[in-house]
Amino acid sequence: MAVAKKIYFPQIAAGGWEDWVRVVNINTQPANVQAIARLDTGQIVWQTSITLQPFQTWVVPVDPAYPQANVSLTVISTLPIVGERHCHAGTEVLAFPGASPEMKTAGTRLIFPETVYGCHDNFRFLNITDYFAFVTVISRDINGFTVRRFTGQVAPWGFWIFTDVEIGNVQGTLEVFSTQPVVGERHLHYGNGVAVGQLGQILS
C-alpha cells in the first residue's frame, strides 16, 4: 500500500527562500490534517490543523510562521494524503514530494546518484522517529572509490545538515546509513540561478 497518512519535509527554508507546501486529501471522505514544524533539535515551534474535503488541497501556512530559522514539517492525517513542496529564490526552485516510508522515500539506507564537483551541494536529513539516529555518510567518486566517510547524530525529530565541505566537493555519489529511518534532501546549486532538489533514494 503506497499511500501514507504521515508525510515529511526535512526543510522549510529561512532567509531569502520562499516555501510553498501543498497537501491533498486523496480520499472520498473528509480528513483531519495536522501540520507540525520543528527546529533541528526536534523542538516543536509551530502547528496548525484543518479538515480537508475529498481531493481538496491545502497550502500549509508554514512559511511565514517561523521565518527566523530552518524548520522541518511533518503533516499527519486521519486518511491518506500526498504533498509537494517548492522552495523558491529567483529562478532557483527546489521541488520535493512529501516523503514517507510508505512512498519508499524514508529509510535507513539512502543514496544520491550524483554529487557535482564545482557546484554547491547541500544535504539535510530528518530523523522521523522518537530515537536518536546515528548516521554514517560515504562520499564516493564517479568510479566508486570512497573519498570521505564521516558520522553524525540526529536528535529525535531533529535534522542534520552538511555540505561540500564535509563530502570533499567530489564528482560522484553519496550514500547514507542511519540507525533510524530518515528522509534526506539534496540541494544542488549550479551557481548561475539554477537549483535542483532531490530526495535520497532508499536502498534499505
Binding site: M1, A2, V3, R22, V23, V24, N25, I26, Q53, P54, F55, Q56, T57, P80, V82, G83, E84, H86, G90, T91, V93, A95, P97, E102, M103, K104, T105, G107, I111, P113, E114, R140, I142, N143, G144, G172, T173, E175, N192, G193, V194, A195, V196, G197, Q198, L199, Q201, I202, L203, S204
Partner: protein, 226 residues
C-alpha cells in the same frame, strides 16, 4: 525491498533540451547494464550496454538519438541500480529519479498534487508493460471538484503526452489511472504574473495504488527485436 534492477525514464527530450542521465551500480559486484531508447510508439531506436564496477557511474550516451524526437529510456541491469535525469534548457531544469515498481514510483494510479492555471503544465505517461493499456486522466480543482476527464489507449512500452490544452488551464490536481503499470512525469514551466520565466521543475507522479500491484515481468538482457 526497494532495490531494483530496472529503471524507467518517461522522456529523453528532443530539440533544445540537453538531457543527462546517470546510472549507478549500487551492488557490491560488477553489473552488466543495458539501456534501451524507444519512440512513443514503442519502436526501439537506440540501445547500448556496459559493465559498471560497484558504485561506478555511467552517463548514458543516449542524447544523439533524441535530437529530432522525444524518446523514452529503459535501463536494465543484472544487479541493483539507481539513476537520475536532469533535462536542461538555460535556467530551466527538469530533474527526475529513475522510476521503478520497486522504488514505489511506478503503479496503476498516480497523483500529481499540483496543476497551475497560468503556467505551462506538461504530462508524459509511459506504459512500462508490453500490454496495451487504457489510461484515464482526472483533473480536479483545488476544492476537489472534477473539472475534466479524458483518456487514451496506450500501446505497450508506448508514451502519451498531454498538456494544458487537455487539462483546461485549471489550478488543481491531476490523477492518472491505468489498467497497466505506468510511470509519469509532470513538467511545470513557470509563466505569468506570479511565476518568473526561466523556471521549470519536474515531478514524478506519486503512486496511490491502494492494493499492491504486481510488477510486470522482464528479461535481462532485453531482446531488441521490436
Amino acid at each position: 525491498m526497494p532495490l531494483t534492477n530496472r529503471l524507467y525514464f518517461a522522456q529523453v527530450a528532443s530539440s533544445v533540451w540537453a538531457d543527462w542521465i546517470q546510472i549507478i551500480n549500487v551492488s557490491g559486484e560488477n553489473a552488466k547494464i543495458q539501456a534501451i531508447a524507444r519512440d512513443w510508439n514503442a519502436n526501439i531506436l537506440w540501445s547500448s550496454e556496459r559493465m559498471s564496477s560497484p558504485f561506478q557511474g555511467w552517463v548514458i550516451p543516449v542524447e544523439p538519438a533524441s535530437v529530432t524526437q522525444n524518446l523514452s529510456l529503459v535501463v536494465l541491469s543484472d544487479k541493483a541500480i539507481v539513476g537520475e535525469r536532469h533535462c536542461h534548457n538555460g535556467t530551466e531544469v527538469l530533474a527526475f529519479p529513475g522510476a521503478s515498481p520497486e522504488l514505489g514510483t511506478a503503479g496503476c494510479r498516480l497523483f500529481f498534487p499540483e496543476l497551475v492555471a497560468e503556467c505551462g503544465d506538461w504530462f508524459i505517461v509511459f506504459n512500462i508493460t508490453n500490454i496495451e493499456s487504457q489510461v484515464n486522466a482526472i483533473v480536479r480543482d483545488v476544492n476537489g471538484a472534477v473539472v475534466k476527464q479524458f483518456g487514451t489507449r496506450l500501446k505497450g512500452m508506448g508514451g502519451w503526452v498531454f498538456s494544458d490544452v487537455e487539462t483546461g488551464r485549471v489550478s488543481g490536481t491531476v490523477e492518472v489511472v491505468s489498467e497497466q503499470m505506468i510511470v509519469a512525469e509532470r513538467h511545470l514551466h513557470y509563466q505569468g504574473t506570479f511565476h518568473p520565466n526561466g523556471v521549470a521543475l519536474g515531478q514524478l507522479g506519486q503512486v496511490i495504488d491502494i492494493e499492491p500491484v504486481i510488477p510486470p515481468p522482464f528479461t535481462f538482457p532485453m531482446p531488441l527485436g521490436r
